[in-house]
């Protein structure tokens, strides 16, 4: 067997990730995901039920205030399933993003003690919430049955949307968590930023209410993903142009995020 040769040198160049190295650390990635998922709900009564409670209760509250009292339009679909179809993906995105932003700080004791590709930390955090997403789809199916929404083949498209949402959350997360290592301001900004972002994303209202300002919504990369997510569930036509814009944004953000993370990660252990 050829001997492994490690060369350590200061580097200043912009580089993409060493995919071969990342692949060799895949087991660590899974070990982190497994740790997060197992440790998270241990010593709780509801356990994995917490994955459902967050989007479910939000849906119930919003259905009462926006659906029933404020009569928010929902493109002719019952408001509970309309909003849940948005909240399900949004919950994933917001958990993944806020988790990723704090991930490096949370792992600081590891980062100062052992080497592994640092990117694994935010990657694992964003991945673990996908499990919550799938747990929460149980309620989606219940709602689909209650409201007689046909279960169609379109649902198979959901994992694709989740995949792009993951890329987006990870890409933004890479940048925020790197900044957070140096400036703890980030941890105060992110929750606030995420809750504001929800109102400029058509999560609990249809993009159609914005009409003239629809182009502003389209600037938000989550718009196309949420709209498509809902369209797949409700068997509505897929908003291809918005989806296309979102995917392009997502890819750009992911690449920039990865490059930025790679550029600054070598200093993490010095300043964390």
């Amino acid at each position: 067997m050829a001997e492994t040769i490690t060369v350590i040198q200061p580097s200043n160049k912009w580089k993409f990730f060493d995919l071969k190295e990342l692949w060799s650390y895949r087991e660590l990635l899974f070990a982190f995901v497994k740790r997060d998922v197992t440790a998270k709900y241990r010593q709780t009564i509801v356990g994995g039920g917490w994955a459902i409670i967050q989007p479910l209760f939000t849906m119930v509250i919003f259905s009462f205030f926006f659906g029933k009292l404020a009569k928010m339009p929902s493109d002719g679909v019952p408001y509970p399933i309309f909003s849940y179809a948005g909240l399900l993906l949004w919950t994933y995105f917001s958990n993944a993003l806020s988790g990723a932003s704090n991930s490096m700080i949370a792992a600081s004791s590891l980062i100062t003690k052992v080497y592994f590709p640092r990117i694994i930390v935010p990657l694992a955090t964003t991945l673990q919430f996908i499990i919550d997403y799938f747990v929460a789809t149980i309620i989606l199916f219940v709602l689909m049955i209650i409201y007689h929404v046909p279960i169609t083949i379109g649902l198979l498209g959901l994992p694709v949307i989740v995949f792009f949402t993951w890329l987006l959350a990870a890409g933004v997360g890479f940048i925020l968590t790197s900044i957070n290592v140096r400036y703890r301001d980030v941890q105060y900004i992110v929750p606030f930023f995420i809750s504001l972002l929800m109102y400029v994303t058509p999560v609990i209202y249809p993009a159609s209410v914005a009409e003239r300002f629809r182009f502003i919504l389209a600037l938000n990369p989550m718009t196309g993903l949420i709209e498509t997510h809902r369209a797949l569930i409700l068997s509505q036509p897929i908003p291809w142009s918005e989806l296309g814009i979102s995917i392009v944004y997502t890819l750009i953000i992911f690449v920039i995020g990865s490059l930025y993370f790679k550029k600054v990660e070598r200093g993490f252990a010095d300043v964390i």
Partner: protein, 412 residues
Amino acid sequence: MQNDIAISVEHLSKRYMIGGKQHQWSIRDTVEEFLRHPFGIGAEKHDKEEFWALNDISFEIKKGDVVGIIGRNGSGKSTLLKILARIVEPTIGKITMRGRVASLLEVGTGFNAELTGRENIYLNGAILGMSQKEIAGKFDEIVAFSGVEQFIDTPVKRYSSGMYVRLAFAVAAHLDSDILLVDEVLAVGDQEFQKKCLGKMDSLAKSGKTVLFVSHDMRSIRNICKNGMLLNEGNIIRFGSIEKIINYYEGLDVEELKFPAVSDGITIRGFNVIQNNSKVTNINCDSDCYVVVVFQIHQSLSDFRLGISILTEYGEFLIRSLMEDWDNSSSQIKPGSYSAKVCVPARILAPGTYTISLHSSLYGKGEFFPNNHISSSFQITSNVFNSLHKTEKIGCHILLPNPWELSKLSDS
């Protein structure tokens, strides 16, 4: 790079930015700085101070060599290990390592309190770079070594600290790598466990692995390592056989201290141990020795304190002796040069390694040298004490100087 070299380090330096104005740490300051000097144009560098933790060091370590890295706190030992372990990046220089590298800078890195012992073995193993298959293969061995079989499916937060450490070390001890970097991890657990750890380290060292071992514990370094590297202020001072390095290091404190040490109220000109009229670093406890402090007082002082403490090699505080202890008039002192001498009686301290540390202060106002401890290490030996079992570990520090009196009462 030749095939028999495991680690080659060329012109390695590591710079840290310290002090000055602590800007850079909040976004506001950075934005302000950026607006003032976009892209660093015209930025003034003077408000940041450089600190070189490692200063252009080069060395090579052969395969199978077991090298102890010693030096005072802040000498760069840990920085060197962290760079080799790829935790921090060097500022300048190049390192080439042949073989699989594993680092052990802490026992139980990444242990999660909520997870069970079993789950933590897999997690910690993965963090240390073992594959899940590898861990599964060694699982029973790891559990047996740790001695926590009974609790393997209990969350580790319910473990006693000893169990926790044993399990953590057990995982680390089963790392299979060609090069092993170890930092002071053995300073945990009880004596028995430390012995087990050292034994494991020793067998690793003998199995042909290349080991770099940082420690303050000279005894374990001496036992495990063949060669040593002595660092001081980011430079390699000595590199060679471990015996020579340790002997040099233990004498170093005395030689190296920069006397006179000057502070506001006092100038220390000398701090020595004298036995049989000569300065020593190796004290024979069969006769008295004297600690002599030569100092100068610049103005009249009241509440003056001067004296020594004697500590064990693990830093336990054993003996205090201040001038004022038996003579309270000594707390008033007039300007002038003085020599103060105290006798450390024969046959009080058991053979071993001790540190004598100088104390000088104004009572209620603090020490004259709050940041620099003036101290030196001593080896104490005896020709008489326990001479039938010279190599036996004594396990105590204080002796009674008097021999026993045995009188025969009758013939039966």
